[in-house]
Symmetry: C2
Subunit: 491 residues, 2 copies
Amino acid sequence: MENRLVHHDKDRTFDRIFHPRSVAVIGVSAQGNGFGSGILDALSAIGFGGHLHGVNPKGGEYRGRTLHRSISDIQDTIDFAIIAVPAHQVPDTLADCLKRGVAGAEILSAGFSETDTSEGTALERQVKEIAGRGIRVVGPNCFGIYCPRSGLTLLPGPDLSRISGPVAFLSQSGGMSVDFAHIGNWMGVRFSKVISFGNGADLRETELLEYLGRDPETRVVAMYMEGVEDGSEFLQVLKDVASRKPVIVLKGGLSEAGSRMVASHTRVIWESALRQAGAVQVGDLWELAQTSLAFSLLPVREYRGISVAGGGGALGVSAGDLAERHGLVLPAFEKSLSEKILEVLPKPGSSAKNPVDAANPFVGPDAFRHVFSHAGTDPRIDVQVLIQLLHHYKAIAMSLGLDSLRQITPYVQLAQAMHDAREAAGKPVIMVMPDFKQGKESLDIEEMIRDARQVFLEKNIPVFSDLGDALCAIGHVSTYASRLRSRGLSQ
Amino acid sequence: MENRLVHHDKDRTFDRIFHPRSVAVIGVSAQGNGFGSGILDALSAIGFGGHLHGVNPKGGEYRGRTLHRSISDIQDTIDFAIIAVPAHQVPDTLADCLKRGVAGAEILSAGFSETDTSEGTALERQVKEIAGRGIRVVGPNCFGIYCPRSGLTLLPGPDLSRISGPVAFLSQSGGMSVDFAHIGNWMGVRFSKVISFGNGADLRETELLEYLGRDPETRVVAMYMEGVEDGSEFLQVLKDVASRKPVIVLKGGLSEAGSRMVASHTRVIWESALRQAGAVQVGDLWELAQTSLAFSLLPVREYRGISVAGGGGALGVSAGDLAERHGLVLPAFEKSLSEKILEVLPKPGSSAKNPVDAANPFVGPDAFRHVFSHAGTDPRIDVQVLIQLLHHYKAIAMSLGLDSLRQITPYVQLAQAMHDAREAAGKPVIMVMPDFKQGKESLDIEEMIRDARQVFLEKNIPVFSDLGDALCAIGHVSTYASRLRSRGLSQ
């Protein structure tokens, strides 16, 4: 009960931080130099909906906005402050914010413990001490908070999406927070909030994870972490949150353990601890993004049998091997089903055992509609994957003298066929569009694939560039679901 | 001695096949349908330099070219035949070619053993029997031969590169041969020859590998294989060739072993046998291509210590972890070296311990020239990697009102700085250009990256899209070199 009250107070504070009615940016240069002006510009560009105030001790004006000399001069109640003054001025600035009743501040400035100097470490200790007196701090040495719903954004982040979604991302690395926010933008990963917490003087992995576990806006948590303040406390919170929401973890900093032997030992220990706590572990940023996409768009279920269909490429060939690597299988279709599927495919050259390999890349949406609707009836199939090498349509467009290969590439119809198959069988569908022609002369292919990606995403069909990536992501969802089930059984 | 004579005769035959003065395409439809017309068009488009003859039993004309009724009607000596008639006509057609003294034929037609029918299997047996009487056969059910030097090309392959290079590719899968040929085109993998051998009725993995081991045009062999006719003979040839040239193997078809337990058992046995034979093993087509690129452009040496430099992204952060995964390390620079490097980087926010993390993505070529020239003096550094998030320049281009971000993105100067660093230190340099902004509105970024890729490739600097991919490829080269050395020592 007490815990709930604490959470309630905390969540009110977090709500003021993530959805502030009023923000002060402290350290805005009238000349437009530095992080302060950059983040102010970014907030304007992305269309932050609340009140926005700029602060500079010298006053002045920036882009038509009068700059206040101090946060104390602002009449408005300030929910959230963004601090971008030189490191040695940060403690006083933060103390001013505390005095003004600001709920939280992100400190973009660098020059703290990351410098490995006694001065930097002392400054960070001061920040921590002030935070402890009643103002929550994100950073220092971070890129801040991105919250699509409220319009808070990262540095730099003027062009991030305002579409809100189920994925939260916690990152010790500012660069990675920006990179993932950009990747998510086109890959279709929609964020509830992204928090780059940098040195983590106050708010960091454990407390933020605990909060995201409660946050109704967040259905999937992704995180990049290096050091952890309190390993056992973190693992306990992780275990708790992971029993309710998938927590995807990319663990870095393992190679910094000194010798290679120690690093590899540390890695084994971490991997085992994270697995026991129920985390979904990934190896790099791309896997993090792809897995987040899969958890966003696929029901959390155990997936074992997949069907793979495609044509005119090598993809079907290695599908079985790739599936096996990720704990999945391609069950061979019964002869009658295989013959039924083969009816609509070109002969000779096609095969329909699973993978379904059409003889050429121009087999159209109607044929695949037939393939899906029949393959979907096999009770061993849990998810259906289509691979399309759309770049082959360029040859047709050229021979027909068409300006654009979008005119003849049937991705809209393919998306509809896949959507209908999903609705009919109640089994998810996945699209894979590799691009093997990435030369300077093939930019139109890339443009078409990007268009197509959005068409599929509009129907909530996840799109991957590579079959292996798709199967890896499906495998993660399945493993998570199966862990949930085994826990449920043992409860 | 006898063996050498056999090889000499064989190589004369192979030479007529790969560098034919005269080619007959059998099965050209006057209406332009089917594989025959397709491959004839492709050979014309790519500019095959020898004589080109079309054959159709009904005679007629195709695109201004008179079609012969039979290969016997052609006056010219035919070195190589391309057969694209229906499966049941293939044996007679092949026998005609044998009679005419054709050195070899590729059979594009499908409808043989891959159909799992007694008819198809019988037809393939006939092909095999005719081949045994003195004509070498590639296929059936294949996409044929691509040889940039002579202008033979795959089906479809009108737009493949005519630039010849050190990499040969042997593939049971036709789709994969086309896919890799396309990928190589822009990635900078240059081919000596690509052979899609399909069902492999006559020529297949072992004999072709043995030939490529002798082939002076081939310095690196890549191969995709599923079934192997004679495992122990293949492994023996592999061991021999791998002692002279890297052989990169992607093994497929493992999941078809029946049950998953059998598949996984088969996998372990294969992996171990391939490792003992000295093959470089890869997991998918992309790794195959990237590893081929690394072997093409990097000296075969043991690489252990790498330096990584970049800025404004998450890449440096996980560099050490990624390196460890591939048997590499990032040795921390001595304090004096680190301080020297830091002189030219923005402060605060930069660090120069290795990885060298510049505070922002706009640190220019002169600064990186300084970084490379100093980092290159560290005797523990064997190879230097630069990561550039060039997409960040778009923000600058927009704020300056420029039409094109190529105007301000300094990749030409970066390539020159890297080239100079490589020549000065005698240590290879690698470029990594990830693209995190792949939205529809960012096609100009992709265009710029593709331009930049060619600029780096012109200086023989390999380019990867991902740091992990680069380190994986370097790791393969290093492991191969170290195996060669340990064999040399034990001799």
